[in-house]
Amino acid sequence: MAVRVEAIREVREPSRWIRAVRDFCRKRPLGAIGAAVVVLMLLVAVTAPWLAPYNPVTVDFGAMLAAPSAKHWLGTDAFGRDVLSRLLYGSQTALIVGFGAALIGATAGAVLGVGSAYFGGRIDLYLQRLMDIFLSFPLIILALAMVAILGNNLPNLITAITIPMIPRCALVTRSSALAIREMPYIDAARAAGFGHARIMLRHMLPNVMAPYLIMLTAFLGQAILLEASLSFLGLGVQEPTAAWGLMLRGAAVEFAEAAPWMAVFPGLAISLAVFAFNLFGDSLRDALDPKLRTL
């Protein structure tokens, strides 16, 4: 037990971190590229107010459907709004939803999975059935119901996207936690009279960190894609807020030929973001736990 704790501490040392990052970049160039794009996106999202040449919601009928030019690098949409500015601000929406949903989904899933594995027995059985119900429930219905019942604002959208992620993460963390539960040091900890909460938090959770991180990065891409799909269907973020999926809705499809820039750039942004997150997540999985399969 003592050995394990030390090992974890050691990883936290800065020099090890830098070396690990350097190692990761050298061994997994694809993952490094993905990570670079993710970092770039984060920077863009934070600095959007300074980077964006125009206000993303100001309508300008004088510049409707303008093609890309020096004035509007990526053209304008049907309301004369600058596509580049909307893309930049849209990255904020994408990242807030992506990180929000993935963090909540993976964390809740991990807690449920570990709890389920730790307590076992009847609790495990009931939790498993509950997870099964949500796993087999069609996502679009859940999203639609959430949005129609609660109204569609950002927090509800995040909730709707989170719900299907929880059981998936719980499934994966549970099986990792099951293996740890059998370890003698857990029995030892219990014999020493530690409380359930302490054993789970101090001893089991750190050991499912690898699957947790892997699920988290996998969810990030999925959440961004889901947000885009739901916004495209009119169930997500709403006008005039800038969001990538929303930019593809309505006029973008109608003007797909006459003003292709309206659809091409947000489409590319979505793909690039999801691509980068997946690339990074995949390599992270290969590095941390090659045996783990993320569905």
Binding site: A145, I149, F232, L248, L272, L279
Partner: protein, 317 residues
């Protein structure tokens, strides 16, 4: 073994019951009801009297628990009732769309398997070479492309380049195979690509894992031709997780192709689903959710059995 099968089989029912309860409550909590929606049309205002008459006709004026009990008893006898929107029997509504959805799911699976297995195996064998990178980029791109986007690009591409559009009305395969394939091959490709991305990744990682196992090393050491190693040992063991992914995706495809069916105008279950929810057609939505969930749960059950059969340790856990 039989005891295990029976246990897993019986465990399906509480899950299904849970799904039934959730959807029954959920669809009724969502604002807007079927009667109001159907009568509001384009003009909006309807008298309360007309609304009440119509609600009584569907039994919506009775207590919720009574409605639930009636519905559940019907389901137990495989009688799902009638659609509240069209008045047609639910089974008839579903049967009509099932053929198309099933065929599309099968075709997409074929596309996916044909792409995924070779690509995944090659990528694993050539791990960390440019071949591996190319395959991974190709498959991650599949995951990163929104399906609605790909469908629209397909249709526009066909229209602009070939000035041609796939047939809009479904012809069963046995009536006219050519017409049938002309319509379904495009959505099958669009769906199959994303689907293959998932399967390729799984094939690759499963293969990698198996290749590291001792007996493969032994087989290789014994001087067997590498090709033979692959086909005889590695692939067979790696197939199980791949099969799981394919089976689960297949179950999802039957009712989950909402946007693709919309874009290609396919009269399938996914579109029926969205319409049922938009119409707040309680009976139809409930039946469809149950159908999709059962497909999913049943596939899971089969997979559990498969694992148990291959790995006896599971049976005794």
């Amino acid at each position: 073994m039989w005891k295990y099968i029976l246990k897993r089989f019986l465990l399906m029912f509480p899950t299904l019951l849970g799904v039934a309860v959730v959807i029954f409550v959920l669809i009724r909590v969502v604002p807007g009801d079927v009667v109001e929606l159907r009568m509001a049309g384009d003009r909006g205002a309807v008298s309360e009297e007309a609304l009440a008459k119509e609600r009584a006709r569907f039994g919506l004026d009775r207590p919720v628990w009574e409605q639930f009990a009636t519905w559940l008893l019907g389901v137990a006898r495989l009688d799902f009732g009638r659609s509240m929107w069209t008045g047609a029997p639910i089974l008839e509504e579903i049967k009509l769309r099932f053929a198309l959805s099933l065929q599309l799911a099968v075709m997409a699976t074929i596309v996916a398997v044909l792409l995924a297995i070779p690509l995944g195996v090659i990528a694993a064998l050539k791990q960390d070479t440019w071949v591996d990178y190319a395959v991974r980029i190709f498959s991650i791109a599949g995951l990163a492309t929104p399906s609605f986007w790909l469908g629209i690009v397909f249709i526009l591409g066909l229209l602009i380049i070939f000035k041609w559009l796939p047939p809009m009305v479904y012809t069963p395969f046995w009536v006219n195979p050519w017409q049938n394939l002309l319509q379904l091959i495009w959505p099958a490709l669009a769906v199959g690509y994303r689907y293959s991305a998932v399967a390729t990744r799984m094939t690759r990682s499963a293969m990698l894992e198996v290749l590291r196992e001792d007996y493969i090393r032994t087989a290789r050491a014994k001087g067997l031709v590498e090709k033979l190693v692959l086909s005889r040992h590695a692939l067979k063991n790696a197939m199980l997780p791949v099969l799981t992914v394919i089976a689960l995706e297949f179950a999802f495809l039957i009712g989950g192709l909402v946007v693709t069916e919309q874009v290609f105008n396919l009269n399938g279950l996914g579109l029926l689903f969205v319409q049922a929810v938009a119409h707040r057609d309680y009976t139809l939505t409930q039946a469809l959710v149950l159908l999709v969930a059962s497909a999913f749960i049943f596939v899971n059950f089969l997979m559990d059995l498969m694992y148990a059969w291959l790995d006896p340790r599971i049976r005794f856990r």
